[in-house]
Symmetry: C3
Subunit: 669 residues, 3 copies
């Protein structure tokens, strides 16, 4: 597989919007800024194929040659995210039907039915044209299939394919009835043709947690097929070129794990809200890295300045793009790409930031920042490429579990898996305790500590695997809403937490839901290293009845005052904890710290609060990233270790000061 020898720096370029003179000026500006990769032609289908089967690639040939002549590689995108208007008009079947049952009309982008045969035929055809032409072009760094998949569709084709998908999954209608537990509310079906897609027309999309769950799986599978439809064409011409797609920052809709299994590497677009704290952005990087078991990935898009579709589009502060870029690399990105290289004159994103803004020259704050960043990244050469994070702690995260949790009606409308996961991640990240976010099918034995917040859905034998992991000496943490349901979101009979009962040594009888303004307290039986004996908790309160487990804390209020809320079970050579509620950040931070210490997991280095530290190890180098997210100067203490500051080519050791917003990239010896 073709590999990069540097950090790719550049991004989306839409040359079909510009005349030749502008393109020539852009080339000069790109060179000045150190750009070495352009992603294109994401939106050029209508230009490349103005009539069905009539292709006009000459302009693109010339353009790629011109770009390459400036030493810039290309990541070639199949332009299938925006089908031409003639295609929608000639074959209306390519247009989606929405959840309200409305046939859509042509417009926008990512606005097609992923199951449309005609769409797939035409998409494969243009991918074939592109691959035939460019698969061996020396400028070609990677293939980028389409763009930010994620359109739902409820058209007759999808209806028919959903029934086939179900038939394949369940075999017989009897089995489907059983697995869907259709006896509830008299939903028994006698033929697959009686099954309707879950939409607003039957309200099953929100009131039937199992049909909707399967629809989301079906949509993921269909989207993956749609990707594969093009990817297989591209691979045919030159298997050496890696194929990916840029996954949307909005990650709930499609099970990205399924998508990732089809990619040669993960690519994703990072658009944090201006209010997202650093740990939340870091968590997304961790999730995306985990999709392919820790493999480094492509940061395919981020904004060089303000966005245009946030409620309030703040300017990126001086240094902010640099910090976000290094944070991405620190967590596993091998590229630093942007949307977009030149600001569009019109359309929905005309006020989105760009390398080159409407002014059209490089005499801007942002262009100067980009230029400086390009220079720095070039100086890192290939040292961090393919470098991996080495963590002994892991947080389990799963899309099916996410959907099932949030599709379930009750106990609280505020169920937000990502937010709850993020609290656990935060406790690790803000103490610089290295942690992976892993798939449910990851090998647990790679870790000393596994935390599985809200493990509602028991699938992939996870109950047995966790039991085995603990038995062999692992430390495991479960929380409220665990061990509830099977893969079809059917509750597992017997006491909660079902298959985790034994390893946790408890049963949970009831769960109380607290209103947002309500709190309960966790009263610790013993301090075991915590600073306080009492911590606030909220959201949900599981009433835990320990069977073999030891009670570490009890509720301090309400009718279940005195009932266990935190337990520990020694099982085999390991330990299994259950946290029956949603503890305060303060509790989690201290408690996770203690737990890691117990497991021998330590922060990479001591540092001031708000300083993020990660470490990527490749065959070439062992590189440490230090990012000061504070508004003030801070410190990190390398003690006796001496490291090479790659950005300043100097040696550092001992307690080192780091400016507000600054970044250190250090090579370990």
């Amino acid at each position: 597989m073709k590999k990069a020898d540097k950090i790719y720096f550049g991004g989306d370029y839409n040359p079909d919007q510009w005349d030749e003179q502008t393109i020539d000026e852009d080339m000069k500006l790109f060179k000045r800024a150190g750009v070495n990769l352009a992603v294109l032609p994401v939106f050029s289908w209508a230009k490349l194929e103005p009539l069905e089967g009539e292709y006009h690639f000459e302009w693109l040939d010339q353009l790629i040659d011109k770009i390459w002549s400036h030493g810039i590689s290309v990541c070639l995108a199949t332009p299938t995210t925006a089908q031409p208007a003639w295609l929608s008009k000639k074959y209306p079947e390519v247009l989606p039907v929405d959840i309200a049952g409305r046939k859509r009309t042509h417009g926008m982008r990512v606005f097609f039915c992923v199951n449309s045969l005609k769409y797939r035929e035409r998409a494969a055809a243009i991918a074939d044209e592109m691959a035939k032409r460019y698969a061996h072009h020396p400028a070609l760094a990677a293939w980028h299939v389409s763009n930010e998949y994620g359109t739902s569709c409820y058209c007759p084709t999808c209806q028919a394919k959903f029934r086939l998908w179900l038939k394949k999954r369940y075999g017989t209608i009897e089995n489907l009835n059983k697995m869907w537990h259709t006896s509830f509310w008299g939903r028994t079906v006698y033929e697959f043709d009686e099954i309707m897609l879950p939409t607003e027309l039957n309200d099953d999309y929100r009131f039937n947690p199992v049909i909707q769950l399967d629809y989301m799986r079906f949509l993921t599978d269909s989207t993956a097929e749609c990707f594969e439809n093009e990817a297989s064409v591209l691979r045919k011409y030159n298997p050496e070129i890696p194929v990916m797609t840029n996954m949307s920052g909005y990650i709930r809709k499609l099970d990205q794990r399924v998508m990732a299994d089809h990619l040669d590497m993960v690519g994703w677009d990072n658009y944090p809200a201006p209010t997202d704290p650093p740990y939340f952005v870091a968590m997304k990087h961790e999730i995306m890295r985990g999709l392919r078991h820790g493999q480094s990935y492509w940061l395919t898009e981020q904004s060089p300045n303000q966005q245009n579709w946030q409620p309030y589009n703040k300017l990126k502060r001086p240094g902010e793009v640099r910090r976000l870029s290094y944070q991405a690399i620190a967590h596993g990105a091998d590229t630093c790409l942007f949307f977009q290289m030149r600001q569009s004159a019109a359309g929905q994103e005309q006020f989105h930031g760009a390398f080159i803004n409407h002014g059209g020259h490089g005499n801007t704050r942002i262009f100067r920042e980009m230029t400086a960043l390009g220079e720095e990244l070039a100086s890192l050469k290939d040292k961090v490429l393919e470098g991996r994070i080495q963590a002994k702690a892991a947080i389990l995260f799963d899309w099916n579990n996410w959907w099932a949790l949030e599709l379930s009606s009750g106990p609280s409308q505020d169920m937000d898996y990502l937010k709850l996961i993020s609290k656990y991640y935060q406790a690790f990240q803000e103490q610089n305790l290295p942690v992976d976010i892993i798939r449910m099918d990851e090998e647990l034995e790679k870790y000393d500590l596994v935390v599985a917040p809200l493990l509602h859905m028991m699938k992939e034998n996870i109950g047995e695997r966790i039991t085995g992991f603990v038995e062999k000496g692992g430390t495991f943490v479960a929380t409220m809403r665990s061990g509830i349901a099977d893969e079809e979101n059917r509750c597992i009979f017997g006491d909660y937490p079902g298959p985790l009962n034994k390893v946790l040594g408890i049963r949970v009888e009831e769960t109380d839901a607290l209103r947002p303004e309500e709190r309960n307290m966790m009263e610790l039986r013993e301090a075991f290293g915590m600073r306080e004996k009492s911590y606030a908790c909220d959201f949900l309160c599981d009433l835990i009845y320990p069977e073999k487990a030891e009670t570490l804390a009890v509720y301090g209020q309400d009718f279940y005052k005195g009932i266990a809320c935190l337990t520990r079970n020694t099982f085999g050579k390991g330990k299994a904890y259950y946290i029956g509620t949603n503890p305060s950040e303060e509790f989690l931070k201290e408690w996770v710290g203690n737990l890691c210490a117990d497991c021998g997991i330590m922060a990479l280095y001591e540092a001031a609060e708000g300083v993020e530290i990660t470490n990527r190890v490749s065959q070439k180098a062992d590189v440490v990233f230090v990012i000061n997210h504070n508004q003030e100067k801070a410190w990190v203490d390398f003690k006796e270790e001496t490291l090479l500051d790659l950005l300043h080519q100097s040696e550092v050791s001992g307690k080192v000061s780091i400016e507000s917003g600054d970044v250190l990239v250090l090579e370990r010896k």
Copy 2:
């Protein structure tokens, strides 16, 4: 008519979800808990009739025999709330069209067009099968038709039937034009076929208060017909078995009074929000009891523990289900039934509370509470059955009035009839002053005091009847927004309050609407027993010009300072009051107390605040219920009277202490 000899205790059971072994275990648990009635098979249409006209009742035969063999009666539900998927597929006409004009697809339950001939044909057929089979089964306690009716439909059948309904109501198109006052906004029609259903497609559902009013009446009539379609079949086989349906707790949509006229007894599902105060729950019982002129009713559903569809589903606190159950009985319920007996594995309500939860055993807090409750209820035998509340005060409540008030545009968007009615009810209930909530056609002369808040719509000759009631010595209270419109919601010309002008002795010229943050004051001319001379009021302010009436209070602020807001008119042998605004709770409590004292209406017993007392009198016994809703111990004073405590089989008299949340059931001698 077959009558119960005990309080039925049990509820909805869905045995088609369970295997035989589970059912056998359930039987044992039911016996242990004192269950004596099961409601079934609410959702089994698809199982009972897998193909059109092909019935499979054998499993149900066996099940009913098994249940009966455990001494448990059954309330048999026709399973027509959830038509089979094959029915929707074969005859799409059974599926509703929604208010947005969208044809629905199969899903959910209560998801059919009540006017569909095919639905009615198939529903009557399966009802016939059931009745033929079980009408004389000794286990059969009552028939339960379908479930929680309330689906609107705007399909072509409904469109056609609505026109026929209008033709029947109005006779000629000329008369309809007149009654609908179509000259407004040029809406004259020349044929019934020009009339369109009020939907989102013409916005008439919210901007045409008369068409929408008639649609709601039509929907109620259609639903009643749909009920009758099955009920008549059931009655044919054994007229001795009472027939009802469980009416939804959401009671605005259908005029339940019309429904009630078709039932042998009222049945209703009580699902209070966790934040509903006790008086609000009590009021709903009162309303439901009033539907059949005070006849005792069935509490068909309540939850044994948390619900799943509230925003925050709190556990029922220890004793809470018991308290709610006795409150129902205290207000007229003859049964204590629950949804559901066993918690479902899957579907929308998989996390709804049940007698037996997912654990599957009786070793739970809730099961123990249920068992204790079952035992207590059994000890009451048939003493309270058919017992009636004896009240001399009444509050008038009417669905047509409700709709008309809230459909009218202006004077305030905050018009909420139920909430305003509840303030008056609260003033009675929290002082334990017995009060009925009555239909507009109830005989007023049964009462000494009649309060008719917001009597916007004058129908059923109510103006004359009230005038006569007062003339003969009754005391009557009217409020703002009274005497405004006729049965078609046309304003009655001449000064407000139209037909109540004479009895009230006033005219109302204008009504000011206050924003939520605004207040005015009621300044009393004389204290007449009130503690203050000045009370806050809000929402609406009628400017009252007394003609014969005496001014009791005037507004204290704004340009209408000094204008009357509370008047009293002596008329014949009685008195008629008009409250032109929305007084504070404080005012209402004191004022209603004084008014009752004037009318010789007294609290049953003196008690601490938060203690609810009611009294049901049957031919067998005179039973008093005392419920302490407080978080603390409280008291009730029986003075010299000695009563028999039925739950403890002891005598009580004098000032008695009652624990927080506790209940006394006492027989008067």
Copy 3:
């Protein structure tokens, strides 16, 4: 053109709702109140044409004669706002398709497709009937075409006509692609038939700022055609009768400037929310007056008392209607008309205020106020008619700019052009500094000072025209978001503010968006007459780099602290200011005051705060209006000037006291 010789006083009358006796009583009451004009028959199409082509005008003949026999003129409305139900039924094409793609059903009013040929045919036919009959009736004062146009439609006819409209506008598809910049997101089209209307079905209505912009222009043009369809018929019979329509108070949807070019005079309906401050109501008058370059206009509707469709419909306070009526006249209205003369019995507006309420008599507060007002207005005779405001300052306001600003995505979701314009207007109005609100094509040289807030869209050569205006000595003020885009909403390349660069002497590189709770500060370099050196600002912050301009103020906070936020450029004989942010009201008031003083623009008279003063000059008289909007008594100082108080027929001069809510109408000598 037929002209009025008095202020028309009266309003909408719907006699088809009433019987003859009621009408006769109304005539007496109208006479008593001084009514001299009735607007009718706005909603009588169904009555006038019960069958296609069969007209029944006899009742209207008689009615007009009867009205005229009481000395009351009529403004005759074509009744085309509410087509008969038979028309919708027979020709469903007249019904609109909404933005969600739903075919509407008959109902409401203004509920037709403005492009429907059948609608236009039938509307022209009934207009012809009316004109034939009444064009020379002595009672006829003016024609009133239809009512409050403003229905969007997305039906196939509109789809086809939109394509033709685009073809006419752009000539070729190549040019359309260029002007729409379709290369963004791959939206290139190859035939006009590939273009779809912007709707919810493709989300282009909110995500494609150029298609939606053209749709809004198309809708305006279509509506103007629809108006002209009737107006041309009316003019044919008697060109002396002026033709207008009543434009809705909701003025964003249609470019009222285009509409105004088709009218003989502007007519508009003034329905302020109870919370609208006086300056906001005044601004709407100013906008409407500016539509026809300062020509006086008709106030076609206002409410005599409460409305019914506000959230909280407050009674009009004593004197409030009088004050609003004089405010209208003070700003250019030649009429004082109301909706409605008699309160409707039923329908959506049954609780809307009227001259004569449901009581049906004149013994009401409102009727008495109306009578007094009628008497006063009669005493003014024709003195104010056609009088003009003489202002040397102007604020530029444009519908295309409004749409483009708010359709653009970013930088802030809170973009509200009207609100931001109103802040500048308020600064003038609350200091009684005479200011016009002008069209973008108005002659700038008529003014000494032109303020153009948020001049995002550069069209009609406005850049050059402003440059010329300043060069010749004018003073010009621009703000953030200026000079951004061309007429197709395409950004103009080169630095902002594009064509205004030169005259303003600055470039703007970036714009920061502040969240609602955020503030920055404007730090003045010098006080230049301001009371403070530092003022708050918010919303958006342009980062200004002065090229020739002088920096007057800089930001006080954030990373752009010290960067210019307010500049002044001396250019030719004039000055051009740029305010890069949204300053506080306080700043604007002082600053606009200083600016006006610089330009020699003075308040008409000195007066207490909250006293509004305007001045209309006609060939007959020079009349000053003084309105005290305060809750308290206030003053105005005429110094040595002596004026004739027209309402009291007395002379005033010096410092004069004016009661709370009172009005003075004074003739200058």
